[in-house]
């Protein structure tokens, strides 16, 4: 096969990632455990929102990582298109459902957070709206993979879509922020960025680390699965052809 990169060999990748997997799993459990402990038990409740602010420890990392995963997907797609690295589109394909799940977690926790404070299950604030749109981008991307019979064609089409989406994402964000300031709905998230009290920063960082390790673990597992599936498909094709020797459409 042309354009073989040293690390593109799936066997090597599988070997290295399998070795990393147990460590990443331990790290994930550690981060989540420590983050949940400090977040739930060892940090102060918000003076206004009470204990419900603790949802922030799940909501904020999920929301920011939902964007992070899209970036990973876009970078992998660019590598797949430009350098035809065979593992790149496997990585992109495997990341998408994880990113979609992160957006769902962010949306659900956003709703749970808003309900006791504002009395409604949904509020059209800038962040939640952007996360919802990102969910649609993920679903569209996943749908495009399924739409093609030819896996290679699906990979390249999805890569183009991911890049087009990535390029448009800042524009969409900007326009949603603008729309938000025009219409001034209630905002759920007060604690954000550098205004967070330092006591809250540590559990937030730990949860962030946990989500990151979760992404890495699930990504590796999904990539292994995808690699095995492709091998099976290829072997099945070969078996069908040599056994039947049936002429197909030119």
């Amino acid at each position: 096969m042309p354009t073989m990169h040293r690390f593109a060999n799936p066997a090597r990748f599988v070997r290295i990632s399998s070795a990393l997997l147990p460590w990443l799993t331990v790290a994930m459990v550690g981060f989540f455990g420590a983050g949940l402990y400090f977040g739930l038990f060892n940090s102060p409740p918000d003076y206004q929102q009470g204990d419900s602010v603790r949802i922030m420890y799940v909501h904020v990392p999920a929301a920011t990582l939902a964007s992070g995963v899209y970036v990973v997907m876009a970078v992998a797609s660019a590598v797949a298109l430009i350098w035809r690295h065979p593992l790149a589109d496997v990585a992109a394909k495997s990341s998408a459902p994880i990113g979609a799940v992160f957006t769902l977690i962010a949306l659900v926790t956003g709703a749970l957070w808003g309900q006791p404070t504002w009395g409604t299950w949904w509020v059209w604030d800038a962040r939640l709206t952007s996360v919802l749109i990102m969910l649609f981008l993920y679903l569209g991307y996943m749908g495009l993979w399924q739409a093609f019979d030819d896996e290679r064609r699906a990979a390249r089409a999805a890569a183009i879509l991911a890049l087009v989406g990535a390029v448009n994402l800042p524009i969409i964000r900007f326009s949603v922020d603008w729309w938000n300031t025009l219409h001034q709905p209630a905002s759920i998230i007060r604690a954000d960025g550098p205004t967070i009290h330092p006591d809250l920063l540590m559990p937030l960082g730990l949860m962030w680390g946990g989500f990151l390790c979760f992404f890495a673990v699930v990504l590796i597992v999904r990539m292994h699965r995808e690699i095995v599936l492709r091998r099976i498909q290829a072997l099945q094709t070969l078996q069908f052809e040599t056994a039947a020797a049936v002429p197909q459409e030119a």
Binding site: L144, I172, W179, L182
Partner: protein, 221 residues
Amino acid sequence: MLEFWALVRRDLLLARRQGSATTSVAVFFVLTVTLFPLGIGPESSLLARVAGGVIWVAALLATMLSLDRVYQSDFEDGSLDLIALGPLPLELVALAKTFAHWLVTGLLLVVLSPVLGILMQLDSAAFGTLVVAMALGTPALSLIGGIGAALTVSVKRGGVLLSLLILPLYIPVLIFGVGAVDAAADGITARPHLLMLGAILLFSLVLSPVASALALRLNLE
């Protein structure tokens, strides 16, 4: 360059001969807008408040439903192969075809928008801005939609998937388009919104031919 205009003329000729497509887009546009007063009641001030949003959403949907005309039939009868093998670079092919698509659908929406403004009791101060915003926004819709059409041209019954892919990308045009109309209706300047629409149009003039050509090349393999 001659081949570029030859392609635009060809698509326009085919659209004219095939007839019904243009009128159905127009009818759909008006029909969709008509549904809203039926749905939310005929009270003038309520309609006027949502007029901008309703007209723009209807324009988005009308554009989206007509997008398969850009490449589909040429793909199915083998013409797209031959066009791609012609001297015109595929990026210019995409530009020519989306331009022809806009001339057949978007331009019509621009012309019809004042009528819909009347139906939705839009404040008369906003009519001019509505037309300008539509004139800037509908080409962007054709361009961005063209990318989706190119990606899904080889997918059977890809219409729904196309909608799913394109609608999120339409959101900025929607937001600034409605923003312009609402600003004009409120008596304040719509310039920043119109400038943003112009910027999005310029951006898609560059992105769309490049991305569409990549997608077409992929689907023609």
